[in-house]
């Protein structure tokens, strides 16, 4: 009995230590970015790295707010990621609901073709998008970028939505039908509230994907007024001149904020949503 208890304690200590190491591995780069953003330029590149700061210098934040268009980039990223998330959620939930609820010829093929689109690397679409958008005068517009992001986000979002809608027992729809509920109301009043947790998972995945996207935004956007934060941050990296690492870190901290807030706010749903996906047979 005693040895069992001892074993359990040892196991807990081992597990705790493993989590601690993992935690440090994940948290240290974030911590490093945050403290670098509060260092002066002469504190950044030193042979003995400074891990704890006596004074938090605001130079880098003043620099990025005063001398760059970081707030414009931030606003654009927020609009683009928010718009992409909202529209993707609407479209994916409708598609997911339809594909679960109705049987029709070619349904499997349609579902699989959505998956195939997802498998093609996004970079392959970049030049065609550029040429098409040029003809449609959609280059350097927020709407154009949102449209392209939606097309990338939808396959994954639809597949996730399908898996969440499949968890809803068909009896619920049948009772609603008997009560005279229309299909649209069934979608809005019955199905959507039941997959709320799943939608939160989709929202955060789509948002983070759009928030961090670089390649397409680089090609499709050109003026400072329409650029996103990742492009703005990449612009800080210099060639043949020292990169302002402190300002880069400050912009990085700024870029983390929305994703962190969104993750914290939807944490409850994410756990539920991922669990829902996991138990589906």
């Amino acid at each position: 009995m005693k040895s069992m208890k001892k074993k359990r304690i040892l196991q807990s200590i081992g597990l705790g230590a493993a989590f601690l190491v993992l935690g440090v591995l994940f948290i240290f780069p974030l911590y490093w970015t945050v403290i670098t953003s509060f260092k002066t330029s002469s504190q950044v590149f030193v042979e003995k790295p400074v891990l704890i700061l006596d004074t938090l210098y605001l130079d880098n934040y003043i620099e990025i707010f005063q001398k760059s268009h970081v707030m414009t980039f931030f606003k654009n990223s927020l609009l683009i990621a928010g718009g992409t998330t909202l529209l993707s959620l609407i479209l994916a939930s409708m598609a997911g609901f339809g594909l679960c609820r109705y049987g029709f010829k070619g349904k499997k093929t349609l579902q699989n073709s959505i998956l195939i689109i997802r498998m093609i690397p996004a970079l392959v679409y970049t030049i065609p998008y550029y040429i098409i958008y040029n003809k449609l005068h959609l280059l350097d517009t927020l709407a154009g970028l949102i449209m392209s992001y939606i097309s990338f986000a939808l396959p994954m979002a639809i597949w996730l939505a399908i898996s969440f809608f499949l968890d809803i027992p068909s009896e619920i729809y049948e009772s609603a039908e008997i009560d005279g509920c229309s299909e649209f109301k069934m979608y809005t009043r019955i199905a959507l509230p039941l997959v709320k947790a799943g939608l939160a998972v989709i929202a955060i995945l789509v948002f983070v994907g759009a928030w961090n996207e670089f390649g397409l935004a680089l090609v499709l956007q050109s003026s400072d007024a329409k650029k996103t934060l990742p492009i703005g941050i990449a612009s800080m990296v210099q060639t043949h001149k020292d990169t302002p690492s402190g300002s880069l870190a400050a912009a990085g901290v700024l870029a983390m904020i929305p994703a962190v807030i969104l993750s914290m706010a939807t944490q409850k749903y994410i756990v539920k949503g991922t669990m829902a996906g996991a138990v589906k047979g």
């Binding site: 911590y31 403290i35 509060f38 002066t40 330029s41 002469s42 504190q43 590149f45 030193v46 042979e47 891990l51 704890i52 700061l53 006596d54 004074t55 938090l56 210098y57 605001l58 130079d59 003043i62 620099e63 030049i127 550029y130 040429i131 040029n134 280059l139 680089l218 090609v219 050109s222 003026s223 400072d224 492009i231 990449a234 612009s235 800080m236 990296v237 210099q238 060639t239 043949h240 001149k241 020292d242 990169t243 690492s245």
Partner: protein, 482 residues
């Protein structure tokens, strides 16, 4: 049960909070003196500019800029026209953005500046030249501009200059070597030099002038310690300043350079190696090429082991931290050496790279062949590269390309680099990027791979240059250039 869970959550959050607060605790929040002085400088500049505006005259480096309207050829006649100029973010963006409002006021045109991150700059410009044709002026590294020229993406400039340039626009005033190498390709003038670049030798002036160090050198080699001018002198001085070869050395290493893949060929060129001749034939498998490879291997003994992992930032910081006696680098290293916190501030001297074959870099300005505003595009290039325009760009690290600019005493005094820079331009012939259209970066990669293999010791210097020659021949033949 629920309460217990909530308590656990609270404790976890509190723990994280305490950790973060602990690490940042006792921290004062402040703005550093560096930032304060910069802000004061900016205010002064702004005030100065305001004063200049009031008196309707711009004075730079003691020279009144009286010909900004390019002999009266800019008089608001381009009202309603828009010029789009792509620029690399950073100093290029600052330099062009600083002159654009003056040009707008004089010409009446609107200048749209599109900044592009450095790493993706060429790709994006190329994409536009091939598809959207939005850009009017093309600012680009020289070898890239030459590729654009042979593909017909940029416009020959002679006719535009003859037709539209102001009468005092003097192309003979550009540094001759620079103008020929940058401007002409395939017999046509396709670019005007905008930013010159050449590899320089940065050395620790304090060590080279230290009497005790000089005496030790005299004793060891029987000759006076001086800034090396030849490759052999450099190898010897580097050896002297390397602790593993001379335990009394005041620094750890005699030599340092950025040797991350992508930069190694620069050292090969600095040591006298070449890439191609004027007929686009490989020109490295010869005595000079083998000697250059051997010199690199000699210098490797006096350089830090990790130098093959050193890119721009790492190598510069290594030198600025006072770890090496000499370093070959582009002029931008100067700013790192003189920055606050640098261990070598005011202790660094600059000279021509030993051997007198420094690598030539640099950027030029061209006009997109599909531009709808070629006349306006030329006027903008003329404005930026005129004698007055040169004085406007210097403070944004765009060094002068005109001989007359270097002759202005205040310009000479403004940077300790200029003397060495001017002299280096007389010697520099080999461009940093292999100047073969379409496959420039591929051929650069070929050189990098062989040089790095020789440095690892997996092939001999002879095998390295012979391998480069073979691959160059195949690649260039496959191009089927006329």
């Amino acid at each position: 049960m629920k309460k217990r869970k909530q308590m656990k959550k609270f404790l976890a959050a509190a723990f994280c909070g305490i950790l973060l607060a602990g690490s940042l605790s006792g921290c004062k929040v402040a703005v550093s003196d560096e930032a304060k002085s910069e802000s004061a400088e900016n205010t002064q500049t702004a005030k100065g500019e305001g004063e200049e505006e009031q008196s309707q005259a711009i004075v730079k480096y003691g020279t009144e800029l009286t010909n900004l309207n390019l002999d009266g050829t800019l008089h608001g006649q381009y009202e309603g026209q828009t010029l789009t100029v792509p620029v690399m973010s950073g100093d290029f963006e600052k330099a062009v953005s600083a002159v654009a409002p003056i040009f707008e006021e004089l010409s009446g045109a609107k200048v749209v500046i599109e900044s592009i991150p450095g790493e993706q700059y060429t790709d994006k410009v190329q994409l536009d030249l091939n598809n959207t044709h939005k850009y009017d002026v093309v600012l680009s590294p020289i070898a890239i501009l030459h590729s654009f020229a042979i593909a017909g993406k940029v416009e020959p400039l002679e006719e535009l200059i003859q037709t539209y340039a102001g009468e005092s626009y003097d192309i003979d005033d550009f540094l001759p070597g620079l103008f020929q190498t940058y401007g002409y390709y395939d017999g046509k003038l396709v670019a005007i030099p905008y930013k010159p670049d050449v590899m320089l030798l940065f050395y620790r002036k304090d060590l080279f002038e230290d009497e005790a160090v000089k005496a030790a050198y005299q004793e060891k080699y029987g000759e006076e310690l001086k800034v090396p001018e030849t490759n052999e002198e450099m190898v010897q001085v580097a050896e002297f300043f390397t602790k593993s070869q001379n335990p009394d050395s005041p620094v750890d290493y005699g030599y340092c350079a950025m040797m991350l893949k992508g930069s190694t060929r620069l050292l090969f060129f600095n040591r006298g190696g070449d890439d191609i001749d004027e007929n686009l034939k490989p020109n490295m498998n010869n005595g000079e090429g083998i000697k250059a490879m051997n010199l690199i291997l000699d210098l490797q003994k006096s350089a830090p082991k990790e130098w093959v992992q050193m890119g721009w930032d790492e190598a510069n910081q290594f030198f600025a931290n006072g770890n090496a006696a000499m370093m070959e680098q582009w002029p931008g290293l100067w700013l790192t050496c003189q920055a606050e916190g640098s261990a070598v501030k005011d202790k660094v001297g600059v000279a021509v790279a030993p051997g007198n074959t420094p690598t030539l870099g640099g950027w030029g300005a061209s006009i997109a062949s599909e531009s709808q505003n070629k006349e306006l595009a030329w006027k903008f290039i003329e404005f930026m590269t005129s004698k007055d325009g040169e004085l406007l760009k210097i403070e944004n690290t765009m060094d002068p390309c005109r001989a007359s600019t270097y002759e202005i005493p205040q310009v000479q005094d403004s940077s300790e680099l200029y003397e060495a820079l001017m002299e280096s331009f007389n010697y520099a012939k080999t461009l940093a990027d292999v100047d073969v259209p379409y496959i420039s970066s591929k051929l650069c990669d070929v050189m990098e791979t062989y040089i790095q293999q020789a440095m690892e010791g997996s092939i001999t210097p002879e095998e390295a240059v012979s391998g480069m020659e073979k691959e160059f021949t195949t690649e260039i033949e496959n191009l089927e250039l006329e």
